[in-house]
């Protein structure tokens, strides 16, 4: 899927201006930036509540193209500016990290991947 597919998921709202329509191949869910930095796959979307400017720096290092900020947390202006510079899309949602991750898994066609 692409960034614009993410934007169509129910309850996901743009917090930045539209970015390039990056291809999204994977996703990662986590709030601890050291963990995200070490383990998040590239070309992915990050589901998190960590609405901090550093999240953008870590996302950029990890090759993350989009963030979904959960639980209706607000996105500070300096974070939006950094995202704009790094061409990273930010969405906000009222969803919990679990709910947002489920929607993304479905959109990526990954819901069945762990079934035997």
């Amino acid at each position: 899927m692409t960034i614009s597919d993410l934007a169509t998921l129910e309850g996901f709202k743009w917090a930045t201006e539209k970015t390039q329509d990056w291809e999204i191949q994977d996703a990662y869910t986590g709030d601890l930036l050291s963990d995200v930095m070490g383990n998040a796959p590239s070309d992915s979307v990050l589901v998190t509540i960590q609405a901090h400017k550093n999240t953008i720096a870590v996302a950029s290092l990890a090759g993350i193209h989009a963030l979904v900020i959960c639980n209706n947390r607000s996105v500070p202006d300096d974070m939006k500016e950094a995202a704009q510079e790094e061409e990273i899309a930010i969405f906000t949602t009222k969803d919990t990290q679990f709910q947002a991750s489920c929607k993304i898994a479905k959109a990526l066609g990954r819901l069945d991947e762990n079934r035997n």
Partner: protein
């Protein structure tokens, strides 16, 4: 006597702080604002503390030699030493426990070691914005055993605070806790609550200093005064 203290400040060594904020500029600005006890607390490094010491001597400020440690839970804690050499030794220990990653200057910012004149002596490669491998309780225990003041930083902040990341304040022997907004919406028991400027640029120096009633200007008296939270008062 009523002493103005500001126990949380950064310099150009912290990647997120302004390159212009040298330890000397911090000390001079604090002096102009009437701060009596000032701490420099860069992220996970003590390398600008020698210049800070010289600057505070010139400004007649009592310095505390600090670090703001990032624990493995990504909680920030201030550790403040009365002696430069103890802070430098702790800084070496802490830098060793950072991940073996290099700082990306473009993304995180410069990490400049400067002298008292503000001349750049060195740029630090280690990623000072990263988390150390020390746990929250490790830091508290280790720093207390080295006779530092230990103060969980900005406990009411939405990120990198003990309340945001651990949910509540573990019952440990903190010297005080630091908050941004008062009153704090959490159980802070009998710990003294201090406010600190957390200055990352010159105009932020002194913005959240606070006051403490103590006998006369010394580290020992500060430590003792912090044992009673009623000794602390705040800016209007």
């Amino acid at each position: 006597m009523r002493i103005a203290i500001d126990l949380h400040n950064h310099s150009c060594l912290s990647p997120c702080a302004s390159d212009d904020l040298s330890p000397a500029l911090l000390a001079v600005e604090a002096m102009e604002q009437g701060i009596n006890i000032l701490a420099l607390t860069d992220h996970n490094s003590s390398r600008n503390l020698p210049a800070f010491k010289e600057a505070c001597e010139l400004c007649d400020i009592l310095p505390l030699f600090g670090l703001e440690i990032t624990t493995n839970e990504e909680v920030h804690i201030l550790t403040l030493f009365p002696k430069l050499e103890d802070a430098l030794a702790f800084g070496t220990f802490v830098e060793f426990l950072l991940p073996k990653r290099k700082n990306d200057k473009r993304l995180f910012g410069n990490q400049l070691v400067v002298n008292v004149e503000g001349e750049v002596l060195q740029e630090i490669d280690a990623m000072l914005s990263a988390a150390t491998s020390l746990s929250f309780s490790d830091v508290v225990e280790e720093a207390l055993s080295r006779d530092a003041l230990v103060i969980p930083a900005h406990i009411d902040r939405y990120a990198n605070s003990v309340l945001s990341n651990l949910g509540f304040l573990p019952n440990l022997a903190y010297s005080a806790v630091e908050a941004i907004h008062l009153p704090v919406q959490a159980d802070t028991k009998d710990w003294a609550i201090v406010t600190g400027s957390d200055a990352h640029s010159l105009e932020q120096v002194g913005r959240r200093a606070c006051y403490i009633e103590m006998e006369d200007l010394s580290y020992e008296n500060l430590k003792e005064a912090l044992q009673n939270k009623n000794n602390v008062s705040y800016q209007q």
